[in-house]
Symmetry: C2
Subunit: 252 residues, 2 copies
DNA sequence: CGGACGCTTGATGCATTTCAATCATAGTGG
DNA sequence: CCACTATGATTGAAATGCATCAAGCGTCCG
C-alpha cells in the first residue's frame, strides 16, 4: 500500500477537471502510459538541500516526485527568496519558458524522482493524445494551487496565513492517505517564511501564539497537532481572533 | 493588422515552452485549428461589470477573449474579493475543478469572447493531439503568470507592488503591439487593490507618490505615462526609494 | 564535545490599514 | 441639455501589527 505497487513508472495525481464530484486526488495515468514514460525516464536520487536546477538554465528535463519534498523558488532582485510552491509525491515540476527554467528547484528533504528529458517527453506528448490530456489535467491542478497560494499571500494577518498554510499541509497529507491529525512540517521556518511572505521571526511568533491559545500543539519542531480545527478556520476569515468576547461582533 | 484578419476563430497566444528564445507572444493555434474550434464556438458579448460565471457553478463553457478585459476572483470568507488574474485578448478562462468553476469571472470592460461548451471542447481535445498540445502551452503560460502574481504579492512595499503592477500592464500592451509609453488602466482602483493585496486608499496614495516623484505621470485616471523606467524598476528591488542618499547601501 | 546553524525571544520604528470626510466622475432622469 | 445622485477616488489623522535589529538558546552534525 505504501509503495502503491512497486514503482510502476511515473505517477501523476490531481483532482479531475470534469467527471467525479469528489475532490480527491486520482491517478491520471493509465498503467500503459506509466510504462511508456518509464522508457524515457531515469530515477534520480537527490540529497536534502541539493539544487536540482537553476532559474534561467536550459531546460533539459521534467521531474516527477516519487518520495520527498521539493521547493521551487525565485531569487528576487534584493537576494531574498520567494518560494512558488512545495511539491510532493506524484507532483510534476520543471516549468519552462522559451527553453529555460522559470524558477529554481531544490530538495527540501531527500528526494527520489523520475527524470524525463524534455525532448523525449515532448515527442511522446505529440504522439499520444490521451497522455497529453492527462498532463493538461495536472497543469490545471498546479494552476489552481498557484491561485490558492495567491489567496494565502493576500491575507494580511499572520495568523490567517499560517492557518492557511497548515490547512495546505494537511490537505497534502490527507490526499496521500496519511490521515492523522498530526501534520508533518518537512521544511524549515525560513522556507515557510519565504512561502507565506513573512519574516522567519513572525512565523515563529505566530506558531507560539497558536500554541499558547490551545489551537495547535507542537509535537516537536517538525510536527504539529491541530487541537481546535474550528478556531483555526475562524482565523482565516476574521481579522482578529475573538479572544476578547467583549468586542462588538457586528457584521464587520 | 489591428483586427489580425477579421475573426478567423478562437485565438490563443502565449510565450512558447520550447523553441524560440524570444519572449514574445506567439499564436499557438494553426488556421486549421481555429477553424475547427469555430465550429463549436459562439460569440458572446458581455457588458462591463456583468458576471460571466460564478465560483462553484457547474462548468458549462470555456471562454477565449477577443476584445476587452476580464477579471477572475474569489470571494473570501470575510466577503472581500481576491482577484486571481486579469485576462486580455487571446487569453483563455473558465478553469474547472470536478466540474465546477474554481472562481468567478466578471467583465472589467465591455467584452467580446468566444464561448466554447465544455463537453464539445473536451472531445475536440481528445481527438486532436496537436490542438491539445497548444492548450498545454497556454496553461503553462497562465501558470507562470499566477506565479508572477505570487511574487508581486510577496513584495511588502506598496511602491514595489504598484511598480510591478505597472510593468505587468505594460507587458500586456507591448505584447499586443500597442507599444506606447502610455499605459492604459482598464480596471478600477479597488480592482487594483484586490489584485495587489492592499487597500484602495494605499493604491491611491502610492499613485500620488509615484507621480509627485516624477516617476510616472497620469494622463487621466485611466492612463499613466512612465517617465523614468529605471527608477520604477529600482523600486522593485530596493526596500526604500533612495531619496535620502545618506543611507547605507550595504549588502544588507 | 564543539561549533554552526536554525530557531526563538525581546524591544523599537514605521508602513500600511482603518475610519472618516471630501471631492470627482459617470450615469440618470427631469 | 443640464442638474442630480450614486459610486468611486482622494486626502487626512490615528492606531495596529509586522519587519527589523539584536541577542540568547537549542539542536544537529561533524
Amino acid at each position: 500500500m505504501v509503495n502503491q505497487g512497486k514503482l510502476r513508472g511515473p505517477s501523476i495525481k490531481a483532482t479531475p477537471l470534469w467527471g467525479s464530484a469528489k475532490k480527491e486526488l486520482a491517478q491520471l495515468l493509465t498503467d500503459e502510459e506509466r510504462a511508456q514514460l518509464s522508457v524515457i525516464a531515469s530515477i534520480a536520487r537527490i540529497k536534502k538541500g541539493a539544487r536540482i536546477y537553476a532559474e534561467g538554465g536550459d531546460s533539459v528535463a521534467v521531474f516527477n516526485i516519487i518520495t520527498g519534498v521539493v521547493k521551487t523558488y525565485n531569487v528576487l532582485e534584493d537576494k531574498s527568496e520567494h518560494i512558488n510552491a512545495f511539491l510532493f509525491a506524484d507532483d510534476l515540476f520543471g516549468l519552462t519558458e522559451a527553453g529555460k527554467y522559470v524558477n529554481s528547484a531544490r530538495a527540501v528533504t531527500d528526494v527520489t524522482a523520475y527524470r524525463m528529458p524534455t525532448p523525449a517527453l515532448e515527442s511522446k506528448l505529440r504522439r499520444n493524445a490521451t497522455l497529453e490530456f492527462h498532463v493538461i489535467c495536472k497543469l490545471c491542478h498546479e494552476l489552481r494551487e498557484a491561485q490558492r497560494h495567491g489567496i494565502l499571500l493576500d491575507h494580511h494577518s499572520a495568523l490567517a496565513r499560517i492557518a492557511l498554510f497548515f490547512q495546505l499541509l494537511e490537505q497534502h497529507q490527507i490526499a496521500r492517505e496519511l490521515a492523522t491529525h498530526t501534520i508533518e512540517i518537512p521544511m524549515s521556518r525560513s522556507d515557510i517564511a519565504d512561502y507565506v511572505g513573512m519574516s522567519p521571526e513572525s512565523v515563529s511568533r505566530t506558531f507560539r501564539t497558536l500554541s499558547s491559545r490551545g489551537i495547535v500543539s507542537f509535537v516537536n519542531h517538525r510536527a504539529v497537532k491541530i487541537l481546535d480545527a474550528d478556531r483555526l478556520d475562524a482565523l482565516v476569515s476574521h481579522p482578529v481572533e475573538p479572544i476578547r468576547p467583549h468586542r462588538r461582533a457586528g457584521t464587520r
